[in-house]
Symmetry: C2
Subunit: 341 residues, 2 copies
C-alpha cells in the first residue's frame, strides 16, 4: 500500500448507511480520516452513528475542516455514477487549497474544465480511479511466475461481500504474521489501497491483462496476495469480468463468498442461483485448464440473520455444501479460515 494520507471524505446526505465507499475506506485503508463532510449530520461525530470505523468529526463543508488534509475523497456514488453539482463548492475549495481529489465516478473530474484548471493552478492532482491507465493490454498468462501465493475471492452473485471478505482476510493474515498484500479490482478497493486497475472499466479484451499487470507488479513484494473478486461466473451481465479475473489472476486458492438467503441474482430476479456446491465445480473446472486451483474456504455473509446461533448454523451448512471450512468474516472472525490459505 502507498504512504498513508490525511483524508476528508465527502458523503453528503448519505453518511453512514448509504456511504459504502466512505465506510470501506475508513475501515480498511491505512489512511487517516480527518473529517467526514455531510451537510445532514454536520456537528455530530462518526461514532454517534457507527462504531465499526474510527471516529472523526462530521462537518458541513470542506471549508469547515480545521485540521490539515492532503486528500479529498468522494465517498458516495449516486445511481449512474454522475457528479452531483451540490458537491462542486467542496471540490473547488479543496483544489484551491492544493488538496488532491480522489473520485470513483463514471463522470471523470479530470475532464471537468473548472476542476482541471484549478488543479493545474494550485498543483493538486485529480485521481479518477475508474479511468484505466493507457498501458493496460492483453494478458500474457504469466501471473503464475510470481513468488507470492495468490488467493482470489469468488462469489455466487454481485454484492455478497467479496471486497469485505478480501480486506478482512488481509487483516487477519497480517495479524497471523503473514506478509499479505491486497490486489484491488473495483473502485472502492482502489480507494482503499490507493492504487489499482478498475478491471470492470477496461476494454473487454484486456480484462485478464488488467489483473495480470497488478500481480506481476506486486508479486515479489509479499508472500500472499489476496485478489478482490467481482461479480459471479454465472451472472447475466457481469460474468465476463469474473471470468477475466479468474484466468488473469491464475489464483492458487479460491474463497467462495455467498450471502445467506440469496436465492436469485440481485437485480435479475428471474434468474435463480444454482446450488452453492455447483459453484465450486464451476469455478474449479473453468480455472483448471489455465491454472490449477481449488476452493479452500468459504465466506458467508449472514447480515440478514439476527441471531448469532442461527448464523453459526448457516455457516456450518454452507461449509458442508462447499466441502471446505467457512465463517462470516465480519460477524465472526476471518482468522478461522486464514489457516486454510
Amino acid at each position: 500500500m502507498t504512504e498513508s494520507r490525511r483524508l476528508a471524505i465527502l458523503a453528503h446526505e448519505k453518511f453512514p448507511d448509504r456511504a459504502k465507499t466512505a465506510l470501506g475506506v475508513m475501515r480498511y485503508s491505512d489512511d487517516d480520516t480527518v473529517a467526514v463532510i455531510d451537510r445532514d449530520t454536520a456537528g455530530s461525530r462518526v461514532h454517534d452513528h457507527t462504531e465499526t470505523v474510527p471516529d472523526a468529526p462530521i462537518v458541513g463543508a470542506f471549508e469547515d475542516i480545521n485540521e490539515e488534509v492532503d486528500t479529498l475523497l468522494i465517498g458516495i456514488a449516486p445511481i449512474g455514477g454522475g457528479f452531483d453539482e451540490s458537491w462542486r463548492p467542496d471540490v473547488r475549495a479543496a483544489l484551491e487549497a492544493g488538496v488532491d481529489v480522489v473520485a470513483g465516478l463514471h463522470y471523470f473530474l479530470n475532464e471537468d474544465e473548472e476542476f482541471a484548471t484549478l488543479a493545474a493552478e494550485h498543483g493538486a492532482d485529480i485521481h479518477d480511479v475508474r479511468e484505466p491507465h493507457a498501458g493496460i493490454g492483453v494478458a500474457e498468462g504469466r501471473s503464475d511466475e510470481i513468488d507470492a501465493e495468490v488467493v482470489l475471492t469468488v462469489g455466487t452473485d454481485c454484492s455478497v461481500g467479496k471486497m469485505t471478505a478480501t480486506c478482512e482476510l488481509v487483516t487477519a493474515a497480517r495479524e497471523a504474521g503473514i506478509d499479505a498484500g491486497f490486489i484491488p479490482t473495483g473502485q472502492t478497493g482502489i480507494m482503499i489501497a490507493g492504487w489499482g486497475n478498475p478491471v470492470d472499466r477496461v476494454v473487454s479484451d484486456f480484462t485478464a491483462g488488467a489483473v495480470g499487470e497488478m500481480l506481476l507488479e506486486k508479486g515479489d513484494e509479499h508472500d500472499v496476495l489476496f485478489v478482490e473478486g467481482q461479480g459471479s461466473i454465472v451472472h447475466p451481465a457481469y460474468s465476463a469480468v469474473t471470468c477475466g479475473i479468474l484466468h488473469g489472476s491464475m489464483a492458487d486458492k479460491l474463497v467462495l463468498c455467498h450471502e445467506a438467503g440469496r436465492e436469485v441474482v440481485h437485480g435479475y430476479e428471474d434468474t435463480e442461483l444454482p446450488p452453492v456446491s455447483e459453484y465450486v465445480d464451476l469455478y474449479e473446472s473453468l480455472a483448471n485448464p489455465v491454472h490449477e486451483t481449488e476452493v479452500v474456504a468459504g465466506a458467508l455473509n449472514t447480515k440478514d440473520i439476527e441471531d448469532d446461533a442461527a448464523a453459526r448454523e448457516a455457516v456450518g451448512a454452507f461449509s458442508e455444501q462447499i466441502g471446505a471450512p467457512a465463517t462470516d468474516v465480519v460477524r465472526f472472525d476471518a482468522a478461522e479460515i486464514v489457516e486454510e490459505l
Copy 2:
C-alpha cells in the same frame, strides 16, 4: 444486412494470403467488390490468386479504379492495428471523391485530422468499426425474450474458424429455406454484415450487454440468429469476452469449433488445451444457470490435413468426442449440420 455496397478493398502487399478481412468480406458479405487495391499484385485479377471468392480486378491505387465505388474498405491489419502511412494517398483520394471509408483498426481514422476534415468537406462517412457506440451498457438479461432461436459458435481456442463457421452456417441455413440472420461480434464480422458491436472493444462490464443489444434489435426479424463467437472459455487472455458473449446471447444451441491438431493455446504455448469433450461440459454447465443450452453440432477446421479421407476421419473422431454431428464447413458442407440447428 444493410443495402449492398460497391466496394474497393485496400490490401496493399498482402492479397490474398495475409488479407483475412478482405477475403472474409469478399466471400460472405452481400456487397460487390469492384476492385482490390494491392500495389504488389496490381494488373492481375483476384482469380489469378484464389478462386474461393468472386473475381475482380486488382489495381495499384484508388485512383486507378475505373468503375463506380461507394465505399473504400481497409481489408488488412498490421500487427498492433495501426495505420500504415503508405495507405494515406488511397484514403485521401477516396474521401476527396465523396466515397465512404470503413476501417477496423485500433487507430481510428475519424480521429485523424486530415481524414476528418476531408470527410466533412466532401460529405463522406468514416466508419471505424472497432469504436463502440456510446449507448452500450450493462446487459438486461432479456435476450431470451426474442422470437428467433439463437445459435452461438464457441471455440476450443482463438483462430479456429468461428467466424467462418458462423458465415457458412448462415449461408447453408438460407439455402435450406431458413430465414437466418448473422450477429457479428468482431471487426471482420462487422465489416461483412455492415453493422454490429465490436464486443472485444467495449468496457468489460458491458460485454454481455453489447451482445444483448444486437439480439434485441434483430430478434424479431429472423427465425434463427447465428451469433459469431470469440476466443475460448479457457483462454488465458480472452475468456472474459467469450463468457460475456455466452451469457449475453442466452444461446439456445451451441456449435463447438475446433482446429484439427491444435494442442496448445495459440500464442500461449505453455497452456495445453483440455480434451474436446471437456469443452462441451464447460460451455453447457457455465451457460445453463443463465439460459439452458446444448452443444448440438461441431465444426472442425481441417485445413492442415492434406487428404480428404483423413479429414473425414478426423471429423468422425471429433464428432464422437463431442457427442454430436460434425463437419468441416469449408472443406465439406455446412448443410451437413444445419439440420441439427
